[in-house]
């Protein structure tokens, strides 16, 4: 199958890659670019473990084609911290024990960050509905909700 | 002699007895004596047996000492999730 040449920006850096026309963005990130922070939990857009943003919009990268990244700005979990400085969400997830196995954590962090950029002060209910597409099987979500709210409060300067 | 309580479905191997007595000072001797005196227990012993000794469950531990007054209960070999 003839491959497609794609030029894109990932976490602020320019990237080029070749991918098959039917290859997902998730497979490109993981298998061609070595960005394995996004996980495949289902491959059908049901679990959210592969969450990234494309041009600021939260997507399941298993439902986006690699070819669609042409000219886009993509943000993944690998770009969330600023060097050694963890994002407040990342810090509060560690401090608040909001992860157990951690495999859903990259997707949840990316999704939560996308919410807080639109809505810096969500109610618990808004947050729970926003994260309804991100499955966590370990925590029962309790500590995740608390950690996101703690990070949101810090980010608001509260 | 040690009194050993069996679970119900093992009683077919002991002529219906719920409790049997064997000469044993530890878990290994207990299993060996049971196999000799009640050969019908051999298949279950091969599949695995846990031992409750005075309320504490032991899964292997051949040399766990058993006193004459200890409460000894056999249980199927235990695993978990």
């Amino acid at each position: 199958m003839t491959k497609i040449h794609v030029s894109t920006t990932i976490n602020g850096d320019a990237h080029e890659f070749l991918c098959a026309p039917d290859e997902t963005l998730l497979d490109v990130l993981r298998n061609r670019l070595g960005l394995t922070g996004a996980k495949e939990g289902c491959g059908t857009g049901d679990c959210g473990a592969c969450s990234v943003t494309v041009n600021g919009r939260l997507v399941c990268s298993c439902l986006v084609l690699g070819a669609e990244a042409e000219g886009a700005e993509i943000a993944t979990i690998e770009g969330m911290a600023d060097g050694d400085d963890l994002h407040p969400l990342q810090r509060h997830f560690i401090d608040g024990a909001a992860l157990q196995c951690g495999v859903c954590t990259p997707g949840i962090l990316v999704a939560a960050k996308a919410l807080l950029e639109k809505n810096p002060d969500p109610t618990d209910e808004e947050l729970r509905y926003w994260l309804a597409g991100n499955l966590c099987r370990c925590t029962g979500y309790d500590k995740i909700i608390r950690a996101v709210q703690a990070a949101a409060a810090e980010m608001r300067g509260a | 002699m040690v009194k050993v309580l069996l679970w119900g479905s093992l009683r077919q191997a002991t002529g219906g007895l719920a409790e049997v007595e064997v000469e044993a000072a530890n878990f290994k001797q207990l299993l060996d004596r049971l196999a000799v005196e009640y050969p019908g227990l051999k298949p279950q012993i091969a599949r695995g047996i846990s031992l409750s000794l005075d309320g504490v469950i032991y899964r292997e531990a051949w040399f766990t000492e058993i006193g004459p007054d200890s409460e000894v209960v056999l249980m199927p070999y235990m695993t978990g999730g």
């Binding site: 024990a97 495999v103 499955l135 099987r137 | 469950i57």
Partner: protein, 746 residues
């Protein structure tokens, strides 16, 4: 292990909420899970699975697949030998069907190719000639004489005549005179229950990377709850020596019991052996649902008699579990656990293990216990309702306690059930008002907990820090707990310790991370390894001071002379002793190896409020509180996490999760869209109350906490829903269609 391990003490670090050592890796995407590893020259593996519930495999033609450019190896059952022991053979046959496909999703062949697309294309070129056979997926149907037989020759000697050969084992537990007990009852309730099979639902699909070299050595990277056990199984299946197969556990993306065996690892090793290159094999979600770990589905009959003042006079349960296409391994646990919370004069439980054309059951948190206790706790609730008695009072009146002869035989030592029930009664949740269409339910839960084989090394580094090498995959923060216990014992800061999970070549055998054993057993071994290192450090100090070893004590992270007769020397800290270790005899390390017992059983009580929408049949969980005895909570955040996570898995089991089979015996919902696990918007906060009744079998009093939490939600939800709608529910899950049906709707 004796019951005098525990010594009361004031903890300085145990019980604090420190940061986990793998936290930064996990929030930055750096942590390496099963599917995240690569190797030079790596191929991609993929497995072909049976579309039929039961079929004879007449032939498999792989020639076209092998001829496809980029395909490097094809594997079928013919590539494997036939292990002699039943257990290993079952594991292997479940990984790759031999002669017959026993369930929809059963592996029949596998390929390794240069990329995923080629591997997928190759699977389509494999021609399997199936002769479709009759199938059975329902537990009650499978027990009947004349039912399609899943496997011949698997019936144990304890099964009475007259059943299908699918009935492989029968268990009976209990004591006392049932007839006399029931005769004393003022009311007897008899009710039958059904529960659907559920899946552990870990978010990370099974994944591994295998590399077998031509000199017979192999390395395997995989997500598992127990890499030593993976080595045992794979070495057995492939006929390898354990020393030649090194297994490294990746970070694990959830397991809950479902990653305690192998599914793809022997296949990946065989593909790598045949291809002569490393092979990565990753399951899709569809494969995870169809071919791994579900629980049993069950049907049960419960009969309980009670006096009008709430004393249970006799209790009887018959439990029928189907565990898929191989002999079920959890019936005996459910049969023992069913009435564990009660002090009963007359009790009998009967268990039946049944095979069906479904995937082989795997352990799931407190395997076997949730569905048994669900049925029992539902009937206890119904009796309380009948007499208008408070359900907590009734449970307290009948509660098992120290000295109770348990329903499975042993007399209980110190247990925490009464304290847990009293904590629930004292909690504001229990008295909070309820609105229309709302109901409150409660349930007790129980699990045995285990210890097991454990091997720990503790290395004192020359800069005064400590490295701990242990062999149990960290499934929910255990590295933090282990470091905390070592810090406590050594008297040095938590941050000076790093705990790692080592590969199978680095330590003696460690049992699987299961049975809620890690914080208990690895913790115990770590404390003992620390004491071993302390003994050696005291000896070094004694040499330096020129006094007897016995004249040196360890206090607050330093060696000190024991009393005035030992001489006057300033304390020598761990760092000071470590710094001169080369000069005083070489490296300092502590070790401990044990097959730990004395884990101590665990009880919990859950309270839950729900509201049922009578138009849609949907149940909303309004409030949920978990009460559980942790012995000693080493890291309270992660103890709470276990309680919350277990509760929510149980809520999913009660309300929505379900394996749905069609008439054709095929699984109809192998996706997270149709197999609905709880999502964030389904749930309230999960309140937790940790009780700390020390376990006498652990130096710090620790009890396992991982499993009990999944047991009570099933009945707590069922009782709450039954009160909310005024009808007794007796089937799980209580999905909206079932609630509507109960209400007489569409």
């Amino acid at each position: 292990m004796s019951l005098d391990e525990y010594r009361k003490r004031e903890f300085k670090q145990v019980g604090t909420r420190v940061r986990r050592p793998d936290g930064v890796d996990k929030v930055t995407g750096r942590a390496m899970y099963g599917a995240d590893a690569t190797a030079p020259g790596m191929l991609w593996g993929r497995i072909l699975r049976s579309p039929h519930a039961h079929a004879r495999i007449r032939s498999i033609d792989v020639s076209a697949a092998l001829a496809l450019k980029g395909v490097k190896a094809v594997v079928t059952a013919e590539d494997f030998g036939v292990p002699e022991d039943d257990f290993t053979r079952d594991v292997q046959d479940n990984c790759m069907a031999r002669g017959r496909a026993l369930y929809d999703g059963h592996a029949v062949a596998a390929v390794a190719a240069v990329d995923q697309a080629t591997a997928r294309a190759a699977l389509k070129l494999i021609k399997v000639d199936y002769e479709i056979l009759p199938h059975v997926t329902d537990v009650d149907a499978a027990m009947q004489p004349g039912a399609p037989v899943v496997q011949e020759g698997r019936v144990q000697e304890n099964v009475p005549k007259g059943f299908s050969d699918n009935v492989t084992a029968h268990f009976e537990f209990g004591h006392g005179d049932l007839d006399a007990g029931f005769a004393k009852a003022d009311k007897i309730v008899e009710r039958s229950f059904k529960t659907a099979a559920t899946h552990q639902g870990y978010i990370e699909p099974h994944a591994c990377l295998a590399s077998v070299t031509s000199d017979g050595k192999a390395d395997l990277w995989c997500c598992t709850q127990g890499h030593f056990y993976v080595r045992t199984l794979c070495a057995g299946i492939l006929g390898m020596e354990a020393s030649q197969l090194r297994v490294t556990a990746s970070e694990i993306g959830g397991g809950f019991g479902g990653k305690t065996t192998v599914f793809i690892e022997p296949v990946a090793l065989m593909l790598s052996k045949k291809a002569g290159r490393p092979v990565k094999l990753v399951m899709s979600r569809d494969e995870v649902f169809r071919a791994t770990g579900p629980t049993v589905s069950s049907s049960s009959d419960i009969k309980i008699g009670m006096t009008k003042d709430g004393r249970i006079t006799a209790a009887e349960a018959t439990l029928r579990y189907q565990g898929g296409a191989f002999p079920c391994g959890t019936t005996e646990f459910g049969t023992q656990a069913a009435f564990a919370a009660y002090d009963l004069d007359a009790v009998r439980t009967y268990g039946w293990s049944v095979m069906t054309n479904r995937p082989k059951e795997a352990a799931y948190r407190a395997p076997g216990a949730p569905v048994a206790i669900y049925a029992v706790e539902s009937v206890v609730d119904e009796l309380c309702q009948h007499f208008g008695l408070d359900p907590l009072d009734v449970r307290l009146k009948n509660a098992a306690r120290k000295g109770t002869k348990s329903s499975y035989g042993p007399t209980f030592p110190d247990i925490g059930l009464v304290a847990t029930l009293e904590a629930a009664r004292a909690h504001p949740h229990y008295k909070a008002p309820l609105g229309p269409n709302q109901g409150r339910g409660l349930s007790c839960g129980f699990w045995f907990n285990f210890g097991g084989n454990t091997c720990v090394s503790l290395n004192v580094n020359t800069d005064g820090t400590v490295g701990i090498t242990e062999g149990n995959p960290d499934i929910g923060g255990s590295r933090a707990s282990i470091s905390l216990m070592a810090a406590e014992e050594l008297g040095i800061p938590y941050d000076n310790i790093r705990t790692i999970v080592a590969d199978t070549s680095s330590l003696g055998y460690n049992d699987v991370t299961d049975g809620s054993r890690v914080t208990f057993a690895v913790g115990l071994a770590t404390i003992k390894a620390a004491r071993d290192a302390v003994r050696k450090m005291c000896a070094r100090a004694a040499k330096i001071w020129g006094i007897d070893e016995e004249a040196v004590q360890w206090k607050d992270g330093a060696a000190v002379p024991a009393g005035p007769n030992a001489g006057k020397f300033p304390p020598m800290t761990l760092a000071e002793i470590a710094a001169v270790s080369a000069e005083t005899g070489g490296p300092i390390a502590g070790h401990y190896e044990v097959n730990a017992d004395g884990a101590g059983v665990s009880f919990g009580v859950h309270l839950c409020d729900v509201e049922v929408d009578r138009e849609t049949g949907a149940t909303k969980v309004l409030r949920y509180t978990v009460f559980q005895d942790a012995g000693k909570a080493v890291h309270p955040d992660y103890v709470e996490g276990q309680m919350q996570g277990g509760a929510v898995q149980g809520i999913g089991w009660a309300l929505n999760e379900e394996y749905i089979y069609g008439e054709d015996g095929r699984l109809q919902n192998p996706t997270f869209l149709d197999y609905r696990v709880p999502v964030a918007s389904d749930l309230p906060m999960i309140e937790t109350v940790i009780l700390e009744i020390p376990n006498p079998g652990h130096p710090y009093g620790v009890r396992g906490v991982g499993e009990t939490g999944i047991v009570p939600p099933l009945a707590a939800l069922s009782n709450a829903v039954s009160h909310a709608i005024g009808l007794r529910m007796s089937e799980l899950p209580m999905s909206p269609p079932r609630i509507l049906k109960a209400l007489g709707g569409s």
